[in-house]
């Protein structure tokens, strides 16, 4: 779902001069990531779509301020996350976030019926629901690293924090996630989340 950095550089440079086709190629490459990052913040598909679309448009008009040679992906994600926050704030949907995430998780997969699969579903649902209750920065740093496989440099850029603090922030987010999980939450019998 992502382009190589070198391709990005060329596309960004072309887009900066007003090449709409080049920018459209960037949108194609990053729309899934943008939508998913936004969804991590909003917990709502329509809001995530609006936020991602708005972010791409705003990013286009902000390309003049984009530092040449810098990675596009984390810069875009920062704009996406901000837009997603705006959407959520405007809609006052913060309290429903965890519920929605849980519902989406529950309805998103047609799980097989065996007991192990049911146990794994419950495990995932609990994890998703707990993630939904974390503060945005914690949920985003976990998602960037463990869902979207960002490098530390990209995480720092996306979160606009010093690179040297990324590891400790990630560790603190993990700790807060663990503290927020139910006391009896543990790995399923197979040692994985199964499914």
């Amino acid at each position: 779902m992502e382009g190589r950095p070198l391709d990005d550089l060329a596309l960004v440079e072309r887009a900066r001069t007003g090449d709409v086709n080049a920018y459209e190629a960037l949108v194609q490459q990053y729309q899934q990531l943008a939508f998913r990052v936004a969804y991590q913040v909003t917990g709502d598909a329509a809001d995530a779509e609006d936020a991602a679309q708005e972010a791409f448009v705003n990013a286009y008009y902000a390309l003049g301020r984009f530092r040449p040679g810098a990675p596009f992906k984390p810069w875009l994600c920062r704009i996406v996350a901000n837009e997603a926050r705006n959407r959520r704030m405007a809609a006052h949907r913060r309290t429903a976030l965890a519920d929605r995430a849980q519902r989406a998780q529950a309805s998103g997969e047609a799980a097989p019926s065996p007991e192990a699969a049911a146990e794994a579903d419950e495990f995932r649902a609990t994890l998703v629901e707990t993630l939904g209750r974390l503060r945005d920065d914690d949920r985003l740093i976990l998602a960037y690293r463990l869902f979207f496989d960002f490098s530390e440099a990209d995480m720092a850029e996306a979160l606009r924090v010093p690179k040297g603090t990324v590891k400790s922030r990630l560790s603190r987010a993990l700790t807060r996630l663990r503290d927020a999980l139910p006391a009896d939450f543990q790995l399923s019998s197979g040692g994985t989340i199964g499914g």
């Binding site: 887009a15 900066r16 001069t17 007003g18 709409v20 920018y23 459209e24 949108v27 194609q28 729309q31 939508f35 998913r36 969804y39 598909a45 329509a46 995530a48 779509e49 609006d50 991602a52 679309q53 708005e54 791409f56 448009v57 286009y60 008009y61 902000a62 390309l63 003049g64 996350a81 901000n82 926050r85 705006n86 704030m89 405007a90 809609a91 989406a104 998780q105 309805s107 998103g108 997969e109 995932r124 994890l127 998703v128 945005d136 463990l146 869902f147 996306a158 979160l159 606009r160 924090v161 560790s171 993990l174 663990r178 009896d184 939450f185 543990q186 790995l187 994985t192 989340i193 499914g195």
Partner: protein
């Protein structure tokens, strides 16, 4: 059961697994919609900075955006919230939304710390404007978390200046470096609120009046703090990189009279 809590390493592993199975909704195709919008607003990105420095070009571009946005809304009746974003005054984004989300009319103002005018002046990177018609404010606040600083001048109600229930004040004037923080203020305006493009002391601005509108303030990147409240009649404009905002329940004429004593 409770004794075998997960370690960070185990938690990382299960989260990685979850990431591969996370039930995201299907990704919509954004490319077409984004293309339509940027083609409809054909500003070459690298020239955008220069555009802000030319009020006449800016006004022309804003007019084009208004026409195109209106046309797009007519063409596509399914256009959702925020069909119009107006980047007219640096530091401010105004959106027309329908319906406007409801919010308690009275929420904390979060103006920063109360201080003296002299201290406020030393804490911000611009010259604070005090409206000659109103004189010295009853209270001065400064917020240093805003790049360049933000100052708020508060005037209590008095004859000719009625109470604004959203602020508990008569007039509230805020000033900040809109050139440093383009998305600092976001305003959402419902269908019953008047939104007029205007010119204040020769600079482009907005007059927002009628039904209270939503305003939220952002600071910083992902560490931003966001405060959200309803606002009364507002005149907002930018001059030389500083964005000025007058909030009151006064008429447009009276608001302009106050603005005349500012840069």
């Amino acid at each position: 059961m409770a004794e075998s809590r997960l370690t960070n390493t185990e938690l990382e592993r299960v989260l990685r697994e979850l990431g591969t199975r996370y039930a995201y909704p299907p990704t919509p195709n954004l490319a077409l919609a984004v293309r339509r919008r940027i083609v409809a607003r054909p500003v070459v990105p690298v020239r955008r900075v220069a555009l802000w420095r030319d009020p006449r070009r800016l006004a022309l571009a804003a007019a084009v955006v208004l026409v195109l946005t209106g046309a797009a809304a007519l063409i596509n009746p399914t256009t959702r919230d925020a069909i119009a974003h107006f980047f007219h005054v640096r530091g401010v984004i105004v959106s027309r939304v329908s319906p406007l989300p409801s919010l308690s009319p009275v929420t904390p103002l979060n103006l920063g710390r109360r201080t003296t005018m002299a201290d406020a002046q030393s804490a911000v990177s611009f010259t604070i404007g005090v409206p000659t018609g109103l004189g010295a404010p009853d209270a001065v606040y400064v917020d240093n978390e805003v790049p360049g600083g933000e100052v708020a001048l508060a005037y209590t109600p008095r004859p000719g200046i009625p109470l604004v229930k959203q602020t508990g004040l008569g007039v509230l004037i805020t000033e900040f470096r809109g050139d440093l923080i383009p998305g600092f203020l976001s305003k959402e305006v419902g269908p019953s609120t008047t939104l007029q493009e205007t010119s204040v002391n020769g600079d482009p601005g907005w007059w927002i009046a009628g039904e209270p509108h939503l305003v939220f303030v952002q600071v910083g990147g992902t560490d931003q703090q966001v405060s959200l409240r309803m606002a009364a009649n507002t005149l907002i404009w930018e001059h030389a990189g500083v964005t000025y905002r007058i909030e009151s329940s006064l008429s447009r004429t009276d608001a302009f009279r106050i603005a005349a004593g500012l840069p």
